[in-house]
């Protein structure tokens, strides 16, 4: 097995036994990147020099105590501020923005010894479900280069699937970790809202955003969560709760675990392959002693609508700071007002503009009650749906995405179509619950299908427990995309290596 095919645990084992050095680990991953990045286009910026520096420090600092991820190479989604490194959010607006401070999660990750390979591509400002909204280039799904990797953390998910990193960080506002993880056949975990600090995450929708790991295995995700979770005094919304050792939950059995199956997620006309794979996974869990229970989440059908009011409203406000005054892109204008207008018109892509306008409209005088106010009430109803369901279930199982990866360009003409592909992941953000996506099968054409497990607030341990048990009873996570490798050079519209 190649080094780049290993996840965190596999590499850690080799490092601990001193069979490889952190430097050699990096060599292997950069070689892999050289080989396939030209096809995948996961990275906006590679930070090779810095990576080797970090590896050298890791080697010196050793791997005991808090250095649980010493020498492990990570890819970081490019909407996380990394000090001294370009943080672009895949937008022209921040194309040359060099973050003057470090986000809490990357600080904790490097504090645990993690090494950064580079910043990955995303839908511009995390707005999208396919990474086609990146202002720079579209990342390809390593399983089928004609298809999207999902979004908005498409770059991170593709990098993990293609072996271009051991693990990655993504962010999730309406499914942006889970959906690309599902479409790329890897693990993606969105923690409970408040579990992980948002300080340094370029805000899209403040009450919905969360940062989480995208990894090859469930245990890897638990290890990353251990390192990044916990209260941060710089984030008022981070929960003052103790952080358990999430890896301990991996290996616990699922006997007697009640698995809720929400009827609204298994509707007439759903993709038969997705249905089969997910139902198969549930059967598998049942075979291991879990108890499927039918539940109902009656307001599911309103989630996308509520989300697209709330998220766009918050986004319209969060993106008001991009005005060309203090940082980022500035267009020439004949006066101040014109400067604002031109800067934002040229700096933002169409999806971002669409959402800003939608949000502005929903908040504007006369419409607040009908849209924003109402969406907040629906949010309460959705939250209550889950509370009800969790009285009879310990965990809820659903498909992550209604379909496997679609072709590049297939849905980009109709924004609404794109929004509807978030239907299974969105409610979880509205309710603030934790969710994980793990591979549970493939389509006839070899495209990954994801199983989503949803837990109660702050019950990531339950997710890890069930996800790990299922994962270990299958071979899905061992499959790799058959990526033909180039010999070296990046071609065409590739990322810039530092």
């Amino acid at each position: 097995m190649e080094l780049f095919e290993l996840g965190i645990e596999g590499i850690k084992a080799l490092l601990d036994k001193k069979e490889v050095t952190p430097h050699e680990v990096l060599d292997a991953f950069f070689a892999r990147i050289n080989a396939v990045e030209g096809k995948v286009s996961a990275y906006v910026t590679q930070t090779r020099e810095k990576a080797y520096e970090m590896a050298a420090s890791a080697e010196k600092a050793g791997n005991s105590g808090i250095k649980t991820l010493s020498g492990i190479p990570f890819a970081i989604k490019d909407n996380l501020c990394t000090k001294g490194i370009k943080t672009t959010c895949s937008s022209k607006m921040l194309e040359n923005f060099i973050a003057p401070y470090e986000s809490t999660v990357t600080e904790r990750l490097s504090g645990a010894g993690g090494v950064f390979l580079g910043k990955t591509n995303l839908d511009e400002f995390a707005m999208g479900s396919s990474t086609e909204n990146s202002a720079f280039f579209t990342t390809k799904n390593p399983w089928d280069l004609q298809r999207i990797p999902g979004g908005s953390s498409g770059g991170s998910a593709a990098a993990v699937a293609a072996g271009e990193c051991a693990a990655a960080l993504g962010s999730d506002t309406g499914g942006s970790i889970r959906q690309p993880a599902a479409l790329c056949g890897v693990v993606g975990l969105k923690p409970t809202y408040g579990r992980v600090s948002r300080y340094g995450l370029v805000a899209f929708a403040s009450s919905l955003d969360q940062i989480g790991p995208i990894t090859k295995t469930v245990r890897d995700a638990a290890m990353v969560l251990n390192a990044i979770a916990g209260r941060d005094p710089m984030d008022s919304t981070s929960a003052p709760l103790p952080v358990p050792d999430f890896t301990k939950a991996a290996g616990m059995d699922v006997k007697g675990l009640r698995v809720g199956i929400p009827r609204e997620y298994f509707i007439e006309g759903m993709d038969p392959e997705v249905e089969k794979a997910v139902k198969g996974a549930v059967a598998q869990l049942e075979a291991m002693g879990a108890i499927p229970v039918e539940v109902s989440l009656p307001h599911t059908g309103y989630a996308v609508a509520a989300y697209y009011i709330l998220a766009t409203s918050e986004a319209s406000s969060n993106l008001a700071r991009y005005d060309g005054v203090k940082y980022g892109f500035r267009a020439a204008g004949k006066d101040l007002l014109d400067t604002y207008m031109q800067t934002r018109a040229q700096g933002f892509g169409p999806e971002v503009k669409r959402r800003i306008m939608l949000g502005t409209y929903a908040l504007s005088a006369g419409y607040y009650e009908a849209y924003y106010g109402r969406a907040q009430q629906v949010r309460t109803l959705i939250k209550r749906d889950f509370e009800e369901a969790f009285r009879v279930a310990d965990i809820i199982a659903t498909p992550t995405s209604p379909t496997a990866a679609f072709k590049i360009g297939e849905k980009s003409a109709d924004p609404l179509q794109m929004y509807l592909s978030d239907i299974f992941t969105i409610s979880i953000n509205l309710a603030g619950l934790p969710g994980i996506s793990i591979p549970c099968g493939f389509t006839g054409t070899g495209l990954p299908i994801g199983l989503q497990l949803i837990g109660r607030h702050f019950d990531e341990e339950m997710l890890i427990r069930a996800a790990y048990a299922y994962e270990q009873s299958t071979e899905w996570h061992k499959r790799r995309p058959a990526l033909p490798s180039d010999n070296g050079a990046d071609k065409g519209e590739g990322p810039k290596a530092l």
Binding site: N79, L80, C81, T87, C89, L94, F97, A99, P100, Y101, S103, R198, Y199, G200, L201, V202, A203, A205, S206, S207, P233, M234, D235, S236, T237, S313, E314, S316, S317, L319, A320, R321, Y322, D323, V325, K326, Y327, L336, Y340, T360, L363, S364, A365, Y368, Y372
Partner: protein, 481 residues
């Protein structure tokens, strides 16, 4: 029959809070540092930054609310006020909308008619962040933005439209300022901008209860300008209404150079601030014990102190009002009384000599080189006759300038009062002998020449002569005894 109009005024006062750090980040609030040297990712609105509330800012706001008889909201939260401006780094101001910290309070103001007071309602007090500063250099095509001030905690105090005249408006502002300074939450410096005032003013026919169209006034940075701007606006509106013109609801700026208000030049479209609850900050529910603790920490406020000064120290309304206008001043006075000074005497010396010297030096009473104990010593020396009242002024000055005690100065400069009958008698004999003309005329009946002799005696004793003694001896000797 001509209609008489009455004025309806409401004030929105912004007070910068005296915290060490900004409201949502740890940057210093110190004034006057080089541009953009006191900022961080949070107060410059960098991507990914988040606000965290300064506990002191909240405490100060609750304290202010309690001092102004407000109810403290059991549940309160922040909201975003969205608009674009270069000094507003995030493109929104974190402020409060529906659920402010304090509501429904009042202060009493002196209406200027005797010592009657009127109650002015306070609608709400809320907490928000200040914006940065825009600087325009001359007529150049640029403006320059300094974000040092961005994020300074600001308290907004909104009054009910209860004020009925420009004088009441400035009395209200003075009262607010006094209270804010008393409780130590704001230094109330209008010139420096730590206390700012916007006014809403309308007029209506006397007796009407419906409010007229209100005009917002800005850019008044002193009590005097607040009064002048309001006075001008009343004239303008009254004249307009009398001419049958409608009052336009608009924002007008006070222009010191012209003495008028004029409508803002820029297109003032009605702002749609699109308020919504701030998702990056969690609501607060101040614990009852904490609010009680804050309340207990409020010192005696100006009004209560003034009333007590009149009752306990027998001061006049005027003196009490003056002494309680600043907490430090009232403290200084009370300290001197505690140490044994007679209240009226202490009051005179403080309001007279001490204030004169402090004003000359441009310093506040907290910086006074003379402490209350010094005044007490001086007054004792006067009472015992050791020095005369006239000399006392010299001694006081000396004590202030040199920080020496009264005793030291009197000894060093030989200022002890001369009261000895023999010594004074000899001096007076000499004066009478030296001025035969005046002596003759006085003895012939020109009573008013007495003052001349007193003056000569004072001159001869270099002011140290005991006036009573001099009087007595002069009377005797001039009468021929």
């Amino acid at each position: 029959m001509s209609v008489r109009y009455e004025t309806v005024i409401g004030l929105e006062v912004h007070a910068q809070l005296l915290t060490e750090s900004k409201i949502f980040c740890g940057c210093s609030t110190k004034f006057g540092l080089p541009p953009n040297s006191q900022t961080c990712p949070v107060c410059t609105g960098m991507p990914g930054s988040l606000p965290v509330l300064n506990e002191k800012a909240l405490l100060f706001t609750i304290k202010t609310g309690l001092a102004m008889n407000c109810g403290i909201a059991p549940f309160s939260r922040f909201a975003r006020k969205n608009y674009f401006y270069p000094d507003l780094p995030k493109g929104y101001q974190i402020s409060q909308y529906e659920l402010p910290v304090c509501e429904r309070g009042h202060v009493e103001i002196n209406t200027g008619e005797g010592f009657l007071t009127r109650r002015i309602g306070i609608t709400r007090i809320h907490l928000e962040e200040d914006a940065g500063k825009n600087i325009h250099e001359g007529a150049g095509p640029y403006s320059f933005v300094d974000l040092n001030r961005a994020g300074t905690p600001l308290m907004e105090i909104v009054s009910e439209p209860d004020l009925r005249s420009p004088k009441e408006a400035s009395a209200y502002m003075r009262k607010l300022r006094a209270i804010l300074r008393y409780i130590g939450v704001c230094d109330g410096n209008m010139e420096q901008g730590s206390l700012r005032c916007d006014a809403n003013i309308s007029i209506r026919p006397e007796g009407s209860t419906k409010l007229g169209t209100k005009v917002e006034l800005k850019n008044m940075n002193s009590f005097k300008f607040v009064e002048k701007a309001l006075e001008y606006e009343i004239k303008r509106q009254t004249s307009a209404v009398k001419n049958g013109e409608a009052i336009i609801q608009e924002t007008r700026l006070w222009d010191t150079s012209t003495g008028k208000t004029h409508a803002m030049r820029s297109k003032e479209e009605a702002h749609d601030y699109r308020y919504f609850p701030e998702p990056d900050l969690v609501p607060f529910m101040p614990a009852r014990e904490w609010v009680e603790e804050i309340k207990a920490g409020i010192p005696e406020l100006p009004d209560a102190r003034r009333v007590r000064f009149i009752a306990a120290h027998g001061l006049s309304e005027y003196d009490a009002e003056m002494l309680t206008s600043e907490r430090a001043l009232a403290d200084w006075f009370e300290e001197s009384v505690k140490l044994g000074a007679q209240p009226k005497a202490a009051s005179n010396w403080i309001m007279g000599e001490l204030m004169r010297l402090l004003n000359e030096d441009g310093i506040s009473i907290e910086e006074s080189p003379l402490a209350p104990a010094g005044l007490v010593e001086l007054l004792k020396l006067m009472d015992s006759g050791t020095i005369s009242g006239k000399i006392a002024k010299t001694v006081f000055d000396g004590m202030y300038r040199s920080k020496k005690s009264a005793d030291q100065i009197i000894k060093e400069q030989g200022l002890v009062q001369i009261s000895g009958a023999d010594e004074l008698g000899a001096v007076i004999d000499q004066i009478i002998a030296a001025n035969p003309g005046e002596t003759g005329r006085f003895r012939a009946g020109e009573e008013k020449l007495f003052g001349f002799f007193v003056g000569q005696a004072m001159k001869a004793t270099r002011g140290k002569g005991n006036p009573a003694m001099i009087n007595e001896l002069l009377r005797k000797k001039l009468a021929g005894n």
